[in-house]
């Protein structure tokens, strides 16, 4: 596993939008905050820009902007402005040669799961599953989630705890962390960007899905051998869930537990990761200790 270098004051963070469109002003608090933290900010042409459709630019433009940030030796971290949809369309055209020679932090979640997963599966380089530009606005920059990103960037070991949940399964594991958005992880199944979860702590989150589809996606993970040999499972928020006219008849917790009932690894619900505000910075591919006790859940980065 390769851990990109921590950031030092004066280092440069690039902001690019490899997926959906984001107006520049929506990222202004983020830009200001990163500068207040002592970093230089380089704005890629895909933030704001002239796009008039869903994407922040056409595939070539989004690829070129991300590629430039990956290749730019001055850029020490790449913060994705927002997710949405779009990385699947360019992932196979990204040239990771210089990134692999000179690693840097890639920051984001949701659609950026494609990037995290691809980099983990192919290069085993750590990335940051963390808040993006919009999370800085409305005092978010002072909140614990954006602050956790700041700490991760300077090289602090990340460590989190959250209250226990009635459906948790107690236990302990020390293993590399992997995961992200459930819909994207299933979308990547069978492709060159799919991670192998065996022996790892898997975290999952999703937003706006039908309950039956959550069930179907978990079955896919299970049937593709991605749930049976986990070291542990962390469930973030599953927000804005929808149900069919005829109710599915199980909660998301029940759906998940039913899928993994035959396995013995620790499971924790309610972990602060996802689209529901609570979203701590997590380093993928990095070794973490997970402790699920009757009182609390702890996740802390191990020494390497």
């Amino acid at each position: 596993m390769t851990l990109p270098p921590s950031l030092r004051p004066g280092d440069t963070i690039a902001i690019v939008c490899p997926a959906g469109y984001m107006p520049r002003e929506r990222a202004q608090t983020c830009i200001d905050t990163l500068q207040q933290w002592g970093y230089a900010v380089k704005i890629g042409p895909t933030l704001g820009g002239t796009s008039e459709n869903y994407f922040s630019g056409n595939d070539d433009e989004r690829l070129a902007d991300l590629q430039a940030a990956l290749d730019d030796q001055d850029v020490r971290a790449i913060l994705c402005g927002r997710g949405g949809y779009g990385l699947s369309r360019i992932i196979d055209r990204i040239d990771f040669t210089r990134f692999r020679q000179s690693t840097k932090w890639i920051i984001g979640y949701s659609d950026v799961t494609v990037l995290h997963s691809h980099i983990e599966a192919n290069f085993n380089i750590a990335t940051l599953h963390a808040p993006m530009a919009a999370a800085f606005a409305d005092d978010g920059a002072k909140g614990p989630y954006v602050q956790s990103l700041r700490q991760a960037l300077v090289g602090d070991k990340t460590a989190y705890n959250c209250p226990s949940h009635p459906f948790n399964r107690v236990g302990q594991a020390i293993a590399p962390l992997t995961g992200g958005n459930l819909a994207l992880l299933t979308h990547l199944a069978g492709s060159s960007s799919a991670v192998r979860t065996e022996g790892k702590i898997l975290f999952l989150e999703d937003v706006g899905e039908y309950l039956y589809n959550i069930d179907r996606m978990l079955r896919q993970l299970k049937r593709s051998g991605q749930l049976d040999r986990l070291a542990g499972l962390l469930l973030g928020s599953f927000s804005e869930l929808k149900d069919t006219t005829r109710p599915f008849g199980a909660t998301v917790e029940e759906i998940i537990l039913d899928c993994i009932k035959e396995y013995g690894y620790p499971v924790a619900f309610g972990f602060p990761v996802g689209h529901d505000g609570a979203n701590v910075a997590l380093k993928t591919s990095v070794l973490y200790e997970l402790k699920v006790t009757t009182g609390q859940t702890f996740l802390s980065e191990e020494d390497y």
Partner: protein, 345 residues
């Protein structure tokens, strides 16, 4: 497609000869199918044979399947009603155990010659790994359905090489046959034609974005979202050398785009013999999130690197016009500037 056109062409023999003096352009050489395991084609049904009705996914009442029962009995078949008809576990047609048991006994009952899934919905993936297919292998029988039943069609194609029927199910039979739309009637009658061994042949009008050419290969596919949900699992399909058909309903354009990228990134588009795009009921973009591309743009972009024939708006999917297709059976697809034909070899 034009209804009258379709009805008038139903049953007409091979149309290839009509193209003999008008070669398709650009020239397309159909890729030869890679040697595949021996295909098992279940015996076609004769009058007096029995069709079992079961619910591997969503629930349905006995009353709701009466139109199907009456129609199918009118065709001269007996009906065996499975225990899951009328069962209800929220959206499911009974618990996983009940649906598994019912489907299993339909597979194992030598008196059942075909299994008609009552409806789709969601749930086949819950039982597919629990099914024992040894009796089906010994005595192949037609499995009939679409949508969520794509799980079973794909699984059986990949693992057992037994052909099946992709078609409407019990919930699509009209209550009042006399008032039904002609295309709905034709779609349902096509199930009978497929089951009784007629060579299936469909001719539909051309579409602006079609890519001409001809192809031969096994016909596979189904519901696009369901195909994606099988990726990486033992039920996943290998599409190389085959004619792939896909349909879907209720998906956003961005999601359809993502699923076509998924097909491409999992190697399901590059070695096709041909591609058939069925019905796509697109969910409108949310305001401010306009995707800016049509289904045609999405598909055309993805198949640009390849040269096989592609046709749009084929009458398969979540719509009244949804003809029976023999899944896994070799077909010839001819996409001609004047018309499209799909014919069983």
């Amino acid at each position: 497609m034009n209804r009258k056109n379709f009805l008038s062409l139903l049953g007409i023999g091979a149309v290839e000869s009509a193209f003999a003096t008008n070669p398709v352009h650009p020239p397309f050489t159909a890729r030869k199918e890679t040697p595949s395991p021996i295909l098992l084609i279940p015996p076609y049904l004769r009058p007096g044979d029995t069709i079992g009705i079961t619910c591997p996914a969503g629930n349905i009442t006995l009353k709701e399947i009466q139109p199907a029962i009456q129609q199918i009995e009118g065709w001269g078949f007996h009906i065996k009603i499975g225990d899951t008809v009328g069962k209800k576990d929220f959206t499911f047609g009974g618990t996983d155990a009940e649906r598994l048991t019912d489907f299993q006994q339909m597979l194992d009952d030598p008196a059942v010659n075909a299994i008609l899934c009552a409806r789709g919905g969601y749930g086949a993936v819950h039982i597919v790994d629990g099914l024992n297919f040894s009796s089906l292998l010994q005595h192949p029988k037609w499995i009939i359905g679409f949508s969520d039943i794509t799980v079973l069609l794909c699984h059986i194609h990949t693992n057992l090489h037994i052909t099946s029927i992709h078609s409407k199910m019990c919930n699509s039979f009209p209550d009042d046959w006399s008032k039904a739309e002609p295309v709905q009637v034709a779609s349902i009658l096509s199930i009978r034609q497929a089951l009784t061994g007629e060579k299936m042949q469909y001719t539909v009008p051309p579409q602006q974005y079609n890519r001409t050419g001809s192809a031969e290969g096994q016909l596979v596919g189904g519901n696009l979202k369901t195909i994606e949900s099988l990726a990486g699992t033992v039920s996943d399909i290998d599409t190389s050398g085959k004619i792939l058909f896909v349909e879907d309903t209720g998906e956003y354009l961005y999601s359809i785009d993502r699923m076509f990228w998924h097909l491409q990134r999992t190697g399901k588009l590059d070695r096709l013999a041909g591609l058939i795009i069925g019905g796509f009921k697109v969910k409108p973009d949310d305001p401010g999130d306009e995707f800016g591309r049509t289904l045609y743009d999405i598909v055309t972009d993805r198949v640009k690197p390849y040269s096989y024939p592609v046709c749009f708006n084929f009458p398969v999917g979540h719509q009244l016009e949804n003809y029976a297709l023999k899944y896994g059976v070799p077909h010839t697809l001819i996409v001609h500037p004047d018309q499209v034909s799909l014919a069983e070899k």
